[in-house]
């Protein structure tokens, strides 16, 4: 700190000399980390508060000053909340009737379509691809009414078919991601196989697919998370309790809490279930952080 002038001389001539900190630099570092830490704190706070509130009893929630870590800790809120509505069934619905089929269907259909857009040369391809990208701009509200009417006439309301069947036809955003990835695979790989007489489906399955694993992981993750989080689709199409996914289950519990207010542990229970529904997403993120970040970064680059 006493060598301020020396420090300035160093920082002016070159940026990266480790081990020497001038007062100005030290202040800069302090400012940077205090900004980062307060930012991280404010982003983490709502989620932390959700979890901490899940461990409280009613009086612990309404105390002023607020209790941060509740003692005694009410871990039994989790099983109690879970059985307040049939959340086991909702979980089963979310996984086996919605997210899994949608993810599998999207993987298959989007791979085929992306292959056609990325690795084959044919007249009209680029025009169709631009149309496909253009559909991403279309708000869901414009097709909502006719689709609802069509699905109603088909007798599909109150089933998962309106949510799952469209996944068989690919997803423009994910098609785009897969196409970007497929274009980076050298054309020679396909050409060699073509000379040997392999057809395109062979080439896709035997040569390209094994190389696509990282991109398919991104697509699967995204689609899974979207379906897990989807609220509006189920809200429109599912009206019977027993066919609710988790998103509608917790919505119903939220209604109950709003009506009960400060009694019956309504809010601790709501926070407990909320924590349990968000938890898989947070865990998936931590285990697949790189896949997520690569996926989301990929879309911005050539947008």
């Amino acid at each position: 700190m006493t060598t301020t002038t020396a420090g300035q001389a160093v920082s002016a001539s070159s940026v990266n000399i480790p081990g020497k900190l001038s007062a100005g630099k030290l202040f800069g570092e302090l400012l940077k980390y205090s900004l980062l830490i307060s930012l991280a704190f404010s982003f983490a706070f709502p989620i932390a508060w959700m979890f901490l509130s899940a461990l409280k009893s009613d009086p612990q929630i309404y105390t002023i000053p607020p209790i941060i870590i509740p003692i005694p800790t009410h871990w039994n809120n989790f099983p109690d909340a879970w059985t307040r509505l049939d959340f086991t069934t909702f979980t089963f619905n979310s996984i086996f009737r919605y997210t899994l089929p949608v993810t599998i269907f999207t993987l298959i259909s989007s791979t085929l379509v992306a292959y056609g857009f990325a690795r084959l040369r044919w007249r009209g391809r680029d025009t169709l691809f631009y149309i496909c990208m253009g559909t991403m701009m279309l708000p869901w509200q414009v097709t909502m009414v006719p689709l609802f009417i069509t699905f109603k006439n088909l007798g599909w309301v109150n089933s998962y078919l309106p949510l799952v069947v469209p996944a068989l036809f690919g997803h423009p955003y994910l098609i785009f991601m897969l196409r970007q990835f497929l274009m980076t695979i050298p054309e020679e790989l396909s050409d060699a196989a073509r000379i040997d007489g392999a057809n395109e489906l062979d080439i896709l399955v035997r040569i390209i697919l094994p190389l696509m694993a990282p991109a398919l992981a991104v697509v699967a993750l995204f689609r899974f998370v979207w379906a897990w989080n989807d609220f509006l689709g189920p809200l429109i199409y599912l009206q019977r309790d027993e066919s609710y996914p988790l998103a509608l289950g917790i919505y119903t519990l939220g209604e109950i809490a709003n009506n009960m207010g400060t009694s019956g542990n309504a809010y601790p229970h709501l926070m407990a279930v909320s924590t349990l529904i968000a938890l898989p997403i947070i865990l998936i993120f931590f285990f697949a952080q790189r896949t997520f970040i690569e996926g989301i970064s990929m879309t911005g680059m050539k947008g």
Partner: protein, 307 residues
Amino acid sequence: MSAISTPRRRFFTLERRNFIVGVLFTLPWILGFLVFTVYPLLSSLYFSLTRYDLIRPPVFIGLENYIGLFTSDPRFWPVMYNTVYYVILSVPIGVAFAFLVANLLNMPIVGRSAFRGIIYIPAIIPAVCTAIVWQFLLNIQYGAFNSFLQTFGLPTIPFLANPDLVRPSIIGISVWAQGAAVVIFLAALQEVPRSLYEAALVDGANAWHRFWNVTIPMTTPVILFNLAVGFITAFQEFTIPWLVTNRTTGPLRNAEFFSVYLYQVAFRDLRMGKASALAWIMFVVIVIFTVILFRTSGRWVYYGGEK
């Protein structure tokens, strides 16, 4: 080339064969496009010219839905104002915030991926959870924010119960869930060639000059991308405003956004014709916004450096 290798009259010329194979691979999307986009798009345009309650067959009424919305519907203009207010404030604030955070994360720091993770997580947890947690946090009687205010003897703030505060509160929540834009910006910042910064440094540029003359121009395409995506999604925002305001009853109609109103017209009032007209108006507004954004982008987006 195909003219040489194949006889003239053969049906399967190379070009035709390629075309058929290409169409076969993209067939899932082509069919989906026709069934789930083109057909609904055209029929919603038709429905918007009818009176239709799902029970009786639709009755053609011409432009009555549109005229009614523009001239006599008491909710239409307030809803339009609410939506535009939300979009115009939340998107630039959100994008600017994400850009600054990304720049902060792009500095030489310890624990970058941990910070990035913490900022990204709010963007991927279910929107229902976001709404429920924030409604709880901002509650006037027992929400955490007001409890802390009361602890310090400060007056409570009715974030979600006051008509003037409800929209800013929702904008605040949307900024909290801005993580995806942060991640995209961070990736873009890491792509900016170091040589440009070094050159600027040699020329004696200070940190601010480097930020203003290197960082910003080099990332303008991604700023445009995030703005465009932001506008399109903000116009369609449904879950958060719908849930934090308890379905926009009572004094909270200031948070009745386009999608929320449309949903109510369609599924509570069962007025499918009017709902379709609303959807088309919204679509046109989104297109106008996007066109303006891209038209003006020529003046500020820099496409020089890469490729």
